[in-house]
């Protein structure tokens, strides 16, 4: 079956425009709540140890995704808010696809003393540098301004 009728009137409407309006509230979760409450007080991270898989999971979680065992309270550990760059990219466009005024260095950072990593922005002017293997540490908002979200980490800086 094909549509034999074609629109030939150039003034006929082609599209209907609209948006999707809704705001979202995401509780950080049982593990996330503990992780972010810690972050509001301290300049370090929490991770969880899975004894069965012999792995330190970062960020901290309620369960191990590999063996599916629940993590008991005593296996929560504090780790430094620092790590090593595993991979990075220099982004020149933003989430909307628009050109950014200043390119940003976005890195996948292996967090020290864990088997996990996180994404972070590296605060730097050195856009041509190879950051792989470079040590970085997190820079936080002042403690009284923290809200318990990822935005409490302002950026990472080279140590």
């Amino acid at each position: 079956m094909t549509f034999t009728e074609k629109q030939t009137d150039p003034t006929a409407p082609m599209h209907w425009r609209g948006d999707m309006q809704a705001d979202y509230f995401y509780p950080n979760g049982v593990a996330g709540d503990k992780f972010f409450k810690h972050l509001m007080e301290k300049d370090s991270f929490l991770a969880t140890k899975c004894k069965k898989c012999d792995k330190i999971l970062f960020p901290a979680r309620l369960y191990c995704e590999d063996c599916f065992e629940e993590i008991p309270d005593e296996d929560w550990i504090e780790v430094p808010a620092a790590g090593t760059v595993r991979l990075f990219t220099v982004a020149t466009i933003n989430a909307q696809g628009k050109k950014m005024e200043e390119p940003k260095v976005i890195a996948m950072i292996n967090i020290d003393k864990t088997d996990g990593a996180m994404l972070g922005i590296i605060n730097t002017k050195e856009l041509k540098r190879d950051f792989i293997g470079v040590n970085v540490k997190a820079v936080f908002r002042p403690k009284d301004k923290r809200e318990g979200t990822l935005k409490d980490i302002l950026y990472f800086e080279v140590v």
């Binding site: 999971l57 970062f58 960020p59 995704e65 991979l87 990075f88 990219t89 220099v90 982004a91 020149t92 466009i93 976005i106 996948m108 967090i111 088997d115 996990g116 990593a117 996180m118 994404l119 792989i132």
Partner: protein
Amino acid sequence: MQHYLKKTNTTEEQCASVVVKNKKNAFANPYADYEAKITIEDVMCSEYLFKPMKRLDISSNVDGAVCFVLADEETARNLGADLIYLSGFGWSSETPWLSTRGMDASYATKAAKMAYKMAGITEPRKEIDIVEVDDRFSYKELQHLEAIGMAKPGEAAKLLEEGELDVKGSLPTNVSGGSLGVGNCLEATGLQKSLEIVTQLRGHAGKRQVPNAKVGIAQAWRGIPSGSGAVAIFGR
């Protein structure tokens, strides 16, 4: 991309030649929307969006729909269909946590393993005549060829340079033009690739026909939020 380039010693130029090949292949595909005659230099000179990824390493979006009708063998015969068998399929997902995920396309390896087992394929490189792998980004074509066992780790770029991935090569890959040439039809990509295999196996591919294609493999991928991949093997 950075991980793949480092790990396999593949260069940005080699990724660029994937783009050149696929956009050229697309000239022979009437459904393709992004056919172009370009050079490696054109790709290398396009602006960096996310270093090392350049504008032309990324496939552009396209609208489209693909439809398949499946039937059991007897029904299909009665309908007088030109029989193409779905002889194996597989799919697999990795973790959605960026913090713990791997970067070696293990989703594709696992999916292919499941599909090969079902199809009874033990030596994919020898038994499969034509390949359509996901190429939404240029390096992905090379990475996926290796992940599904059609090339050894780090070997794909060499095969590409030797012309083996061309229509007339020993491992014709993304003859349709792939996502880089046809356009990235998002969730319809897997069917676009499957359609190309079926068209080729039926000998209906016209100017881009791969001679004597009897077994073909289609692979699709999605990277966010989890790395997930699916593989389908078709045979005459």
